[in-house]
């Protein structure tokens, strides 16, 4: 089974440190999404790429978050500097560029900022 791969699975860091989360989308998928899940806010869309181009990052705090796709097999989400309120599970999902196609999710990165 093709899968979306996310690393690391868990990350604990101190406030002010840089955090980088990585995602390998399913081969052939041309859309990549980053979601953040918290108890209070549920699943929030942070950023979205199609054919490696960023199309929507309106949900992302621009001053500290950045998302990139250096190539078709890698998407990254960086937080610099990290803050305790960034503690959450971050999901990457990939899919085909068609509305009827479901998104396939990775296992998420659980980030804890102390």
């Amino acid at each position: 089974d093709a899968r979306v791969t996310q690393t690391p699975r868990h990350k604990v860091t101190e406030m002010g440190q840089e955090v980088t989360m990585r995602c390998q989308p399913i081969l052939g998928h041309n859309t990549v999404f980053w979601y953040r899940q918290t108890m209070m806010q549920g699943l929030e869309l942070l950023a979205y790429f199609r054919n490696r181009a960023p199309l929507d990052d309106s949900g992302m705090p621009k001053d500290r978050f950045s998302a990139e796709m250096p190539d078709a097999t890698l998407a990254t989400l960086k937080i610099q500097p990290s803050e305790p309120r960034d503690s959450a599970v971050y999901f990457c999902a990939s899919g085909l560029g068609a509305t009827r196609s479901p998104l396939h999710f990775g296992n998420g990165t659980r980030l804890t900022v102390t």
Partner: protein, 115 residues
């Protein structure tokens, strides 16, 4: 903006019984797609079932079926013959046609299966 509402934060059902999870959404579009995802304690998001808005027939996947009421903007999930492995968070999601095509999620319903 599109919104998805799941009004039941928690539900429970006896093993082998049937349970229905509710979902309503708000949109001005006529063509769109709806999904139910399951998130077990492992936190993996698993697609359960999807519905195309232009299809009147309700989608079915084994023990899972939906009741899609387009005019009412309602999209409930029915789980028949509930099994212990069905225990999870269930998320209803709407996918916007065209443009960003992003998935908008409801807040989720935590389903407990009682043996």
């Amino acid at each position: 903006a599109q919104t998805v509402t799941q009004s039941q934060p928690e539900m429970s059902v006896q093993e082998a019984e049937t349970v229905t999870l509710s979902c309503t959404y708000d949109t001005s579009e006529s063509d769109y797609y709806l999904f139910w995802y399951k998130q077990p304690p492992s936190r993996q998001m698993i697609l359960v079932i999807r519905q195309e808005a232009y299809k009147q027939q309700n989608a079915t996947e084994n023990r899972f079926s939906v009741n899609f009421q387009k005019a009412a903007k309602s999209f409930s999930l029915k789980i028949s013959d509930s099994q212990l492995g069905d225990a999870a968070m269930y998320f209803c999601a709407y996918r916007t046609p065209g443009g960003a095509q992003k998935l908008v999620f409801g807040q989720g319903t935590r389903l407990t299966i009682n043996p």
